[in-house]
């Protein structure tokens, strides 16, 4: 090539060269593409190494026409590798779930593997795991969404196969506990297209029933697989009435079970959960009936008590009797007063007589009546001859009178 005679070489504007880190950043940016995030890849394990730190490094390769058609480097960090249920080996056909990342220091990209399953069944397991994450992010399994079952449903919708033991069991239990209207929305319960059938069977019941049972008998993981499908899960979530699930045996938990408002161990158990027991209801009603009668009887008895009390209070005889009682009381009191008074008077009389006798016995005039007399000098009783002298005027008192005398002589009896 004639480098020197290229005519337009000077006219092309020269781009500033990128720095390596800038290019690396652009590549990293491109790797953020959703097509490379949280993906499932199937391939053959090659160059498998179990690093001392617990990380696993390997390649996933695909063979085509005898040659290797493509290889992707993979890493599984220790935290994820610890959950592996088997030891991957060279040539093993696996399905991995992970995200593609660029690793700038090595100038390489790799698939960061979160989970690995053996191909075959593993594919479906991984798919379920992926759906589970996706649906959980949508809030399909959140406990806040769960609704309470109606206490008294009028109609029960059943999404299941028209034939088989499941519908028979549900009919039997509902018929025994509380016979009501069952609306069967028939569906295929396994097979490639079953998920569509199931979800439209659920949707078909909208507005017709108060509660829905989704049931299927036991089966393998693959048999139950349609009940993991997002179409079915979303149909359950958007169902306007509560949904009870009874899918497979108790140990098999499908995504439908996780999304249902309530999970039952068996179809019979689901039937028991959705309808009340008529015998229990009848017993409750009987109890209320007894209580109602008792309440009225009590109320009437109370009213009787009230009336008889009022009647007693209104009766004139009763009032008169009260009056008589009062009168009697007054008479009694008056009697008592009189008796007490006369007793007291007698006592006083007796006392007075005694006192009079005592007084009489001490009356000096009584002595005088026996022949004695009292001599007084200027109002004082003369008791001794020493107190008088010749010429004293004295008064002699007799029992019946007195006399004025003058002393002529006084004789003393000194030998006394």
């Amino acid at each position: 090539m004639d480098w020197f005679n290229r005519p337009d070489v000077a006219t092309v504007p020269e781009k500033a060269p990128l720095r390596v880190s800038e290019l690396s950043a652009i590549i990293e940016g491109l790797m953020d593409n959703p097509l490379l995030q949280d993906i499932l890849v199937r391939g053959e394990v090659t160059n498998y190494t179990h690093h001392a730190r617990g990380h696993r490094y390997f390649s996933l390769s695909e063979k085509g026409g005898g040659n290797t058609a493509a290889v992707v480097k993979c890493v599984m960090w220790r935290s994820d590798a610890e959950r592996l249920s088997f030891i991957p080996s060279e040539g093993m056909e696996v399905i991995v779930a992970g995200t593609v990342r660029a690793y700038a220091p090595h100038g390489a990209y790799q698939l960061q593997v979160k989970e690995m399953r053996k191909a075959g069944l593993g594919e479906k397991f991984l798919l379920v795991e992926q759906w589970k994450r996706q649906l959980a992010a949508e809030g399909c399994f959140s406990p806040e969404r769960k609704r309470c079952l109606p206490t008294f449903p009028a109609r029960v919708g059943v999404v299941t196969s028209e034939t088989g033991a499941v519908i028979h069991d549900i009919r039997t239990v509902i018929g025994r506990r509380y016979p009501l209207e069952i609306i069967i929305s028939p569906t295929a319960v396994q097979g490639e297209q079953a998920h569509r059938d199931i979800s439209s069977a659920i949707s078909r019941l909208a507005g017709m029933v108060d509660v829905v049972i989704i049931a299927r008998g036991g089966g393998s993981f693959e048999d139950l697989f349609p009940f993991n499908h997002p179409d079915v899960v979303r149909a359950i979530v958007t169902c306007p009435v509560p949904v009870v699930s009874a899918i497979g045996h108790e140990v098999d938990v499908t995504l439908s079970d996780l999304a249902a408002d309530l999970r039952a161990a068996t179809p019979s158990a689901a039937a028991e959960l959705v309808v009340p027991d008529r015998q229990v209801l009848t017993a409750c009603l009987q109890e209320l009936k007894v209580r109602l009668n008792g309440a009225l009887q009590d109320r009437v008895a109370w009213a009787w008590d009230e009336i008889s009390d009022l009647r007693d209070r209104l009766r004139p005889q009763r009032f008169l009797r009260k009056l008589e009682e009062k009168k009697q009381n007054t008479a009694d009191l008056s009697d008592r007063l009189e008796r007490a008074f006369s007793n007291r008077l007698g006592c006083e009389r007796l006392l007075l007589a005694e006192m009079k006798t005592a007084l009489d016995s001490r009356n000096p005039l009584a002595v005088l009546a026996r022949g004695y007399c009292v001599v007084e000098k200027r109002g004082t009783v003369v008791k001794s001859a020493d107190t008088i002298t010749k010429g004293d005027r004295m008064n002699i008192r007799f029992y019946d009178g007195s006399s004025q005398v003058i002393v002529e002589d006084v004789e003393h009896e000194r030998n006394l």
């Binding site: 009028a154 016979p179 209207e181 028939p186 078909r204 209320l288 109602l292 009437v300 009213a303």
Partner: protein, 64 residues
């Protein structure tokens, strides 16, 4: 087909309220007797509802 949710449940609820009112000492005799009559009627209706319940099976068409 009666709607059990709207009839049985409300009837039982009404019945409970009636009993509570009669049991409450503030309700007069006249009113208590009227309430009793209402309560007795509700009991009767509930008994009928329970005894008349019968199993009915409908199968939806899959093409709907």
């Amino acid at each position: 087909m009666w709607n059990m949710k709207e009839t049985y449940e409300t009837k039982i609820e009404q019945l409970r309220k009636i009993i509570e009112k009669i049991e409450d000492g503030n309700t007069g005799l006249d009113e208590s007797i009227k309430l009793y009559e209402q309560g007795a009627a509700l009991v009767k209706q509930c008994e009928i509802l329970l005894s008349e319940a019968e199993l009915k099976i409908t199968t939806l068409s899959r093409d709907a």
